[in-house]
Structure formats: C-alpha cells, structure tokens
Symmetry: none
C-alpha cells in the first residue's frame, strides 16, 4: 500500500507556492527551484506534476481564475436588484481574498505574460469577458444596451486601474474607498442617463 493520492495535494501546494513566489521577488524571475522549496518538495517533483514551468504558471493562473469565478458566482446568486449586483461584483473583486498583495501581484505577472503566452491570454480573456458580462447584466435592467456597455467598460477600467495601482503601491486610497468610488461612478452614470431621457 503506497503513499497515495499525493498528486492533488502537491499540485495545490505548488500552486500556492507559485503565488507566494510571484509576490515576493517581484516574481518576474521566480525560479522553479524557489517555488519547489517553498512548497517543501524537490524541483523534480514540480516538473513531475506540471511538466514545465510554463504549465505550472498557467495552472496557477487557472486556479486564481476559478477562485474568482466561484466567489463571483456565489455572491451574484443572492442578488435581485442592479444595485445589489454591482455591489456583489465589487465585493468579490475587492474582497480581501482577491485584493491581497500576493494575489494581485500574481495577476499582474499573468497580465504581462499574456502578451506572449497564448494560454495565458486565453485565460485572461475569460476573466475579462466574465467581468464585462456581469457588469452589463447588472445594469441592463435600468439602461439601454449601449449604455450598459459603456458603463461596464468604464467600471471595468476603474476596477483594473485600482488593482494595478494597488499592486504597484501607486495609489493613496484603500480598498473601501476604491469600492465607494466605483459604486459612485456607476450610480452617476446611470443617473446621467436618466437625465438624458428626461
């Protein structure tokens, strides 16, 4: 009877270690050996379970994406009004879980990697499309389709912008205020459309 079922355990440990490593060194050149050490295993094992560094990175990105997607879906499920939906989206995207230093840094690295890696780009576009469609769906009941797209793109830019600036320590404002700002932005946009109509 061998030690069995380590595969998922090791994979998760390595993925977690990858996220940490990306945050720590600036990540750009996190070595497989660093990541393996952090996960408490040998370099060989990392390759055994992921095949290559690229694959480990892609799987880590996929992992983050799933976490975000799951959290997002869960919090949207309980929503009835546009306002609730917007809040749910913001809660998720700015949740301490998603908005912590390591996670943001990892995302940032993946953003950059997506310039060159097809799979990373594919994964990134899943995130992007999901955020966009969530935002559009949220505001659709109270504006025209065209306006919904406009609001969604603006809000998405704000969210990504706050993310980026937090990742890089170039913003003065905190989580709470970022949320407030985006919410306020959406409200004002919607209001301005109401006025146009009138």
């Amino acid at each position: 009877m061998p030690k069995i079922g380590m595969r998922p355990i090791r994979r998760e440990a390595l993925i977690t270690a990858t996220i940490e490593a990306l945050a720590e060194d600036g990540g750009l050149d996190a070595r497989v050996s660093d990541i393996a050490r952090k996960a408490g295993v040998s370099t060989g094992l990392a390759h055994h379970y992921f095949g290559s560094k690229e694959e480990l990175f892609v799987e880590t990105m996929r992992h983050l994406l799933v976490l975000l997607g799951t959290a997002s879906a869960a919090s949207l499920k309980r929503c009835d009004t546009p306002r609730e939906r917007i809040d749910a989206i913001l809660e998720t995207n700015f949740s301490p879980r998603q908005f912590d230093k390591s996670t943001i840094a990892a995302w940032l690295i993946f953003y950059v990697r997506s310039i060159k890696s097809d799979e990373s780009r594919r994964l990134l576009s899943i995130y992007t499309r999901r955020l966009r469609s969530n935002l559009i769906f949220a505001v659709s009941p109270v504006c025209t389709p065209k306006q919904a797209v406009e609001i969604a793109e603006g809000a998405a830019a704000l969210i990504d912008g706050f993310w980026l600036r937090t990742a890089l320590n170039t913003t003065l404002i905190e989580r709470e205020q970022a949320i407030t700002t985006v919410r306020k932005y959406v409200d004002q946009q919607l209001m301005s459309y109401q006025n146009e109509k009138a």
Copy 2:
C-alpha cells in the same frame, strides 16, 4: 576619421528598439541580442552604451517618462481653466504617441519591473506623482482639497485602467471613447460636489 557623435544616435536607436522588443518579440523575456538586432547593431554595442541590460531598461523607461512629461508640460502651459487642464492631461495621456501598443506594453513591463528594481520604482513614482498633482491642480479651483484628491485618484485609476486594458487587448473601447469617459467622470464628480454644496 573616427565616427563621432554616434553615442546619442545609437542610444536612441537602442531605446526605440527596446520599446518595440518589449511589445513584440519577447515581452518580459526580451533578450539583449533581440534588441540589438532590432536596432541594427551588435550585442556588444548595447553594453558599450548602456553597461547592462538593467541600465538599458531604466534608460528606456526614463525616456518614455521624459516624453510624457514634456508633452504634458507643453500642453498644460496653454491652459487657463480647469476643464482645459483636464482635457490637456487626457490629450497627453491618450495621445496616439503615448497610447500606441508598443509604448503601453513597455510601460506595463516597467510597471512590473518596478516591483524589483529600485530605480524603476523611483521613475514610476515620478510619473504617478506628476499625474496626480496635475489632476489635483486642475480641479483645485473648483472643489475642496479633499475632493480634488478623490477625483484625482479616480481619474488616475480610470486612465491606468484603460491603459492596462488597451495593452492587453481586453477592452472594447477606443482612444476617443476612453477620453470621453474620463472627462465625463471628472465632470460628474465635480457636479456632484456642486450639488452637495448646494
């Protein structure tokens, strides 16, 4: 008859090549030899003029920063009203020169590098502080200092967000619309403050 005055020519060619290489060939992993080839010179020459890859990257970042700073200063000089200042900032940040694919990608990579490289971080913070102070200065005449900071942070996040999304091809909207969106955002913020006052 030695060639003289090659230094500035070679340096500029290498810096231009670096920007291109960061967007195209290798992204994060652009090699010195790639960059040199793109500039039409040998690898050795890149080191001759810049000493190291790190230095070449820093100089390239500084170059982008100077371009942006110069353009920004020039267009702000002719402005008298808050509205004009905001427009000038947006015109500069979203000018075709600044908003093209290569330049944005290069900035993104420098953003990430700034996590590790002290000099890059220093340069990045110059950009950040300048953008913030320009925005604050622009709206100061028509709102309180606290409101000015809020607007500035929001507008900066929007600008960075649009930048990021353009770099990654994850946005649906174009330059023109991005400008309109930010301008509209600032207007609405200011208006809302007016209303509060009233």
Copy 3:
C-alpha cells in the same frame, strides 16, 4: 494470500514491453517508466525484478538470443544436407518471429549498446559466433575450410544487411526475396568453387 509465482510472469511482461518500447516509443531513449507502463506495472516493479535498466536490457537481449538459439537448434536438428542446413539457418533468421519490426529494432539497439556494455557485447558475440559456425558447418562438406569461412562471412553480412535495412525501412525487398537472395548467393559461391576446382 500473497500472489505467488508472479516473478516469471512479470519478467516476461517487462521483457516483451522492452522490445516493443525500443521499436516504438523511445528507441534509444526508451524510459523505464514507458516500459513499465507498457507492461502494465509500476516503475518500481521493473526495478524490483531487474535491479536496473541496464539489467533489464541485458535480460531482454538474452531473451531474444535464447529464442533465436532455440529455434535455430531445433530447425538444424532435422537437417542432413548442406542445402538443408543453409535453408534451416535462413528459415530461422528470417522467420516472421525474428524478422518482425520490433524484434529487429531491438536487436539494432542492442548492437549499438554492445559498443559500451560488456555484457551486451558478450551476448552479441554469442549470436555472431553461432551464426558463423552454423554457416561454416553447413557448407563444410562441400568446400574447403577457407572457402567455408568466406561463404559464411558473406552470407552473414547479407543476413545482417537485410536485417539492418528492414529495421530502418530502407530496403525494397521482402522477407521471401531476402531468403532467396542469400540462398542464391551461397549456391553461386559454392558453384564457383566447384568450377575453380575443375
């Protein structure tokens, strides 16, 4: 109730898998894990039963050698004339069993390994000497010892040549024709010696 008598079963399965793997998967670079998977067992088991990859390879070679030797001895036993003996040797060496793609490829690899591995070389020389002595013995009754050696070397070269070319898919002719060609070669040699004598 422990499984008993698994040893010969596993060993045979692994040896068979080795032969297949050498021809298919990895050629020269067949991995122990490939072979084990092909045999339907774990990597560990391959080492349990053979101790090392080298040993597994040597045993596989020995296995092929025994098969060929047994078949050869069996078919030579029933022969009385030179012509019958030659035919028996050819029947054996070009029997579908020996002349199939996997087996030939495996032999080829063992040939090359024999350059480095003492044990492989020893085994290979057994094959070589046996073939030579069988050929010499076959034609001895009808020619001088010196002529016998000449014929044997020529016929052996033809046989090895056809083998090699079949292994590498570089020949146009089939098993049947190869046999005919070698037989014809021997006949003509013998005839020419007859003529010389006359």
Copy 4:
C-alpha cells in the same frame, strides 16, 4: 575589427568532435559538454552555433552524407563501364575515409537515431536511395531493370552488412576482402542472368 569568420571553423570543429565522441564512448550518450571540450570550446558555443544537440547531430550526419556523396560522385565521373562503376562505388564506400572506426560508429548511431528522428530518417534515406540508384545505374546496361533492382538490393545489403559488422567488430574479414566479396557477388549475379538468357 573583430575576430571574424569563426562560424564555419567552429562548426566544423564541433562536427568533427561529434564524430569522434560518437566513436569513443559508444556514443549513445555523448554529452554536448564532452563534444564541446573535444572541440576546444565551451558548451555554450556549441549551442550558439547549432541551437541544440539534436541539430548538432543532424548537421553531423548531413556532413558525413555530403562527404560520401562528393566522393561517390567524383569517383563515378571517371567511369565508363558497368564494372568500373561498381568498383567506383565499392572504392568509395569502403575507402579508408569512410570505413574508419569513428565514421562507421557515427553512421551506426545515426542509423539508430533515424528510428525516432524525422530529419535523421530523411537524411538516411538520401544515402540509401543514392546508393541504390548508383548500383542500378551501374548494372543497367548489362541486365534487365528487374534484375538491376535485385542486384542493387543484394549488393546494398552486403555493403551495409559489412559496415555493420565492422562497426561492431563482429566480422573476421577486412576491407579488401569485403570489396572482393561484393564485387564477386555482383559478377556472379550478372553471369547467372547471362546464363538464364542463354
């Protein structure tokens, strides 16, 4: 003025070193570092000029192929009769240049590699086809096309067989005798066809 034009020099040195290395260790697992040391350069340089070990091996094979092809063409040019052509082919294939230990060992390795490497297989088939067509062309004037193919395949098998057995030290006969044997084989074949006709 840099040290220039080293590329062809280094490439040749590395190819020569590869041939030597393949002969020495049994070659199967000659390391790039071994080869580089033998060529008097660093490992890095080998990769600089060839990109990968695979490529170095392929280029070495191509080199051997060109040598053989050139020699073959040169010696065939001066021939007028079938007999001369056959002799020229044998002279070339068994020339001390082609028939030395290193070269034969290298070919043997390449033979085995061709099982897995597409490019190696392609190159090997060039050799095979050329030998076949040279042989066929040589005997064509004095026999039917069908007979020519038969002779060519038989002679090619003999040649390859002698090569193989020399590479593996499993033959008793020398270069000279090998040539004689093949020539005699061809003669006898042709004669036997003459007789058939009669």
